[in-house]
Symmetry: C2
Subunit: 327 residues, 2 copies
């Protein structure tokens, strides 16, 4: 297969190199062999390769930049990210007949660790202590262990599943929220999205780890924020648009929430002067919760090759996304 | 036994109440029964009870405040903290013939969670992101998972042991440092204190969780800080005096260390205007890593009663401290 790997302009992650490819291919057995692979970073690199490429490994913006007829042989696109929300409204612009794969799974371990960190920071009053430190104030306040306390994780895909697993290590009582309600090994219970309102009042920690779709846009709105218990903490590793951001900032500034640890925002990058920077008890990280520069490229290529194996064997590729469903 | 429980003035933890005592005693079986227990917060409360008290449950400052001959029947003192460094130089002022117990064990779970949080924060560049947030700067930087990375935990008592356990959950390679070198279930290897210098260069994360003794005072000095790899992270949940503090702050300000998460300092409380508040890539919490207001009193009383059982059965109480050894 002719495979082209194109780095997205401005992507802060290190580019996939021939070394990465050889390592991943050698681990994948027969399905890693017999390919012609090219690597590009510039528009010229892409133009030189896309006419012949049968598979393209890249990001959504590169796919949306393809002109009609530019990729006549393309039949497989592997996106190096998990969220496909930017592609959904543009489905008509995608090359016809292409199977679209996302990179769900490459981010799980890293995202799970970020959520464990975020919940531990909220439980240990870090948002408050960070503010005290900046004011040179020593004001002791103790914190309790996580054991027995309740966290709700919205979305139990690769991100949310790994998050739930780590919260269980600390003996938390984890409620999972997803479209299907079958049990999850790391959740005390799983409820349907429609039941979110019912579990919010007992969610001391709320973790958003679901994809952004028309159904999840603005999921955590002002009304639902009001249903969280006083002094609850919020973590968002999904997309900024999952939250009615102004309402969340009001809940923090007003003291209804004890704190939030957010990795995603509207807009990104957050511009200087934005209200986010000055919101009380908010800890911000620059959309890095799920990326791991050391393992990311190898994990991504392993997932691509695993999907290629499924296609060869006539199975549905596990990472095939459904633009109508939105993930 | 006549037991007096005296709250230390200014202790921010909630006082032990008769309800706590009854609950702990009822869980302890026969050793919890048949005592006369009094509770005090003021100097007058203490004066009224100390003449008859056979056991005193309190903090070091209260013990040091006793006048010679004031506690003629006292034979057991249970300190509601683990560190006894303040008592060591004052050993001659302690009532003679008293068995001294510390509260090692009540803090383990809480301290272990704090260390997990601190290491995850350092791995995820939180010291840097907190500073960026205060300057309203968005600058992405990715981080790798903890799996396979090396942490060194100095001290494998209740605090360090629980810390090592949680770092192992994340598949870290943990080196333990303590006086004895027998294996520890959560450490890949255990080395003697004398071998600390040899393991420092491969310690990406260094966690101080040992008691403060004449041997550990200034343990992490300028020379040893220089042996840590560039971009290492330091966590201290022991005592501020374990570290040559000015050298640590130099290593942070100079960029040799990527960050530090410190819960203990010299002096405490840290006064406004102190250099600590303005040191780069330093996250400070106000000596709260090991206290848990929800479980602390019950755990403490359970440890006291367990030691009482050992005394009754003629065994050495597990929490008996040795002022000569210093812990």
């Amino acid at each position: 297969m002719r495979i082209h790997i194109q780095k997205q302009p401005g992507d802060p992650m290190p580019a996939i190199t021939p070394l990465h490819w050889r390592e991943a291919a050698s681990r994948a057995g027969d399905v890693g062999q017999g390919h012609e692979v090219s690597f590009g970073e510039t528009a010229a690199d892409l133009a030189a390769a896309i006419g012949e490429a049968e598979a393209l490994i890249t990001a959504d913006t590169v796919v949306l930049g393809l002109r009609p007829g530019e990729a006549p042989r393309l039949r497989l696109v592997f996106l190096l990210h998990a969220g496909i929300n930017a592609l959904v409204p543009e489905a008509g612009r995608l090359p016809p007949g292409v199977t679209l794969l996302n990179n769900s799974g490459a981010h799980g371990d890293k995202a799970g660790e970020y959520v464990a960190m975020a919940v531990l920071m909220l439980a240990n009053h870090l948002p408050r202590f960070i503010a005290q430190q900046s004011r040179e104030v020593w004001d002791r306040r103790f914190a309790s262990v996580l054991a027995g306390r309740r966290a709700t994780v919205v979305g139990l895909g690769a991100l949310g599943g790994h998050a739930a697993r780590r919260l269980r290590w600390f003996d938390m009582r984890v409620t999972g929220v997803r479209t299907r309600t079958e049990p999850h090994p790391d959740c005390e219970r799983v409820v349907a999205a429609e039941a979110l309102d019912a579990v919010l009042p007992e969610s001391e920690f709320l973790v958003l780890a679901c994809p952004l779709t028309p159904r999840t846009q603005g999921l955590l709105d002002r009304r639902r924020l009001g249903r969280l218990p006083r002094e609850a903490g919020v973590v968002n590793i999904g997309r900024g648009e999952l939250v009615e951001q102004e309402a969340l900032l009001d809940a923090l500034d007003g003291g209804h929430l004890a704190g939030a640890v957010l990795d995603v925002f509207v807009p990104e990058p957050v511009p200087p002067g934005h209200r986010l920077w000055r919101t009380r008890n908010l800890v911000m990280t620059p959309h890095m919760s799920a990326g791991d520069p050391l393992s990311y490229n190898l994990s991504s290529l392993a997932i691509f090759l695993e999907n290629l194996r499924a296609l060869r064997e006539g199975r549905r590729p596990p990472n095939q996304v459904d633009l109508a469903r939105g993930y």
